[in-house]
């Protein structure tokens, strides 16, 4: 299974095995990674699964889709590499992916 590393705001790292076809948000929830709330359960409707994609990975992962962009846009702490992890599907291409978690979810 592809491995994904989540780095908390304080530097704590969590490397988890992620199931292909599930979302990056679900990989975090399934492995009890703290710092992701996912209040809407993966519907791109709350922006509480915000992650920042590591610079080496932004090209592979790509940018947000339209609905995701409008949700991210409400967050004053949005960065250029911000994504909602419920909108990122795990694939073998993402093996080794690193994402940073924000200090606070929106």
């Amino acid at each position: 299974m592809p491995k994904i590393t989540f780095i908390e705001h304080d530097g704590t790292q969590h490397t988890v095995d992620a199931e292909v076809g599930k979302t990056v948000m679900q990989a975090a929830m399934d492995n009890l990674v703290p710092g992701i709330d996912a209040d809407c359960g993966g519907e791109c409707s709350c922006a509480t699964c915000h992650v920042m994609v590591n610079a080496d990975w932004t090209g592979t992962v790509g940018g947000p889709n339209e609905a995701e962009d409008s949700m991210l846009d409400l967050n004053p702490e949005r960065a250029a590499n911000s994504r909602l992890s419920c909108q990122m599907t795990v694939s073998d291409d993402l093996d080794g992916l690193i994402v940073d978690l924000p200090e606070f979810q929106f």
Binding site: E43, S45, C46, T48, P76
Partner: protein, 414 residues
């Protein structure tokens, strides 16, 4: 209005009415607290339900959790304009506000003020909120009956609002009054007439216009009035638009958290087992806060207008139809929430509730509300074995603000 005499819903068991005759907007079932049984019937038998005639004209009720999420997340097909409650805006007194606008104007105006209650700013406010909460609680009488709504819920939320606006602190109860007046109508008992209501809201505008003029030249400040007066998307607002947005921020920060502050005490009193859990494990407070917000659902509904014909659960909502998303019902939907009628402070996935709404209009102050409630309960638990409710609280006579006008309590220290 139809010519037939209107049935008073409160006189009936919901099972005894024809589905087509049900009108969940009727004030009587809110005053007599009978609405939950009506919502249960609609969720089971007519989750997308058309009421052909009501005090507010015809409207659709959407009562299941997942259906509400579908509509709330879809601003393209369901417009928030020109208002977000079932009540039609007064034609001669429009109150434009960003919650009742669609993107892109909504986004621009919201972004102007969002930063004031964004998490980074909240960290800076935490100590102030805690010391104020401590002061309010330390001033309460012990072993003597008093109104929790007035002394705690209103006081704490009003102090918070005054801080966010940098509003003269000694005048802060004006904010409470304007909040009540803004959501009132002639039958609420809060104002005598629509004219009186508008007159009071003009006083609000006048007061805030003075603050605006003082602040538009004062350089960068982080209060909401300065943000509006200086923001590119808001500095050229009309007075009516300024008033609309003020009311949005006042009601949004006042009527909501206030009623969750009261509702939590009431829920714990009705569930002594849960109160015992809280005493044994104060670490549960953050989770309990989400459960209180779900259980209370301080705003019972939001409304949309369909932009096009839309099929939901086999019903065709026509372009132009009014659609009411009953958050209070969705938060009791057993299809999405386990044992939804029970108050369970250590509930799994307690954050997954509808009270903040979903999509681009999702509550802007959600994290502030959660923080205020968390601090309140942390400080209450340090001081009191029990906040005991005496009798039953009095309900706000409204199908929008789901809350309390009064709740008598007695404090029992440890």
């Amino acid at each position: 209005m139809s010519e037939a005499p209107t049935l008073d819903m409160a006189d009936f068991d919901p099972q005894d009415l024809a589905l087509e005759d049900i009108d969940v907007s009727q004030r009587s079932i809110w005053i007599h607290d009978k609405k939950m049984a009506f919502f249960e019937r609609l969720r089971d038998e007519a989750p997308v339900h058309y009421c052909k005639d009501s005090e507010y004209g015809p409207y659709w009720s959407v009562t299941r959790y997942k259906d509400i999420m579908e509509i709330d997340g879809n601003w393209q097909d369901f417009s928030s304009e020109p208002a977000i409650t079932i009540l039609e805006p007064e034609e001669d007194f429009p109150l434009p506000m960003f919650i009742a606008m669609d993107p892109p104007v909504h986004d621009e105006q919201r972004k102007t003020v969002q930063g004031s209650v964004a998490p980074a700013n909240l960290k800076l406010m935490e100590e102030t909120i805690r010391s104020r909460t401590q002061r309010v609680l330390d001033d309460l009488p012990i072993g003597e009956q008093f109104d929790w709504v007035d002394r705690v819920s209103i006081e704490l939320t009003t102090q918070m609002l005054a801080t966010l606006f940098d509003f003269p602190f000694e005048d802060r109860r004006k904010l409470t009054r304007w909040s009540d007046v803004a959501t009132a109508d002639e039958e609420s008992g809060i104002v005598e007439s629509e004219e009186a209501r508008q007159a009071e809201l003009y006083e609000c505008l006048e007061y805030f216009t003075r603050l605006w003029h003082e602040r538009e030249e004062q350089g960068e400040r982080s209060d909401l009035v300065s943000m509006l007066a200086q923001g590119e998307a808001t500095k050229n607002m009309t007075p009516q638009e300024y008033l609309g947005n003020l009311i949005l921020l006042i009601v949004g920060g006042n009527d909501t958290t206030r009623n969750s502050m009261t509702g939590g005490v009431w829920a714990l009193n009705q569930n002594p087992g849960e109160y015992a859990k809280l005493r044994n494990n104060p670490g549960v407070i953050p989770n309990m806060v989400s459960e209180i917000i779900r259980w209370q659902t301080p705003l019972a509904h939001m409304r949309r207008i369909a932009n096009k014909d839309y099929v939901l659960d086999g019903q065709t909502i026509k372009a132009g139809d009014k659609v009411i998303m009953w958050y209070l019902s969705g938060n009791r939907d057993e299809r999405s929430i386990d044992r939804p009628n029970e108050f369970i402070i250590d509930r799994d996935k307690a954050r997954q509730h509808l009270s903040f709404g979903f999509g681009v209009h999702r509550c802007m102050g959600n994290r502030l509300a959660e923080m205020q409630l968390r601090i309140l309960w942390e400080e209450v638990q340090k001081r009191f074995h029990m906040v005991e409710v005496i009798g039953e609280p009095k309900l706000v006579p409204s199908n929008f603000v789901h809350g309390y006008t009064e709740m008598q309590v007695v404090l029992h220290p440890h």
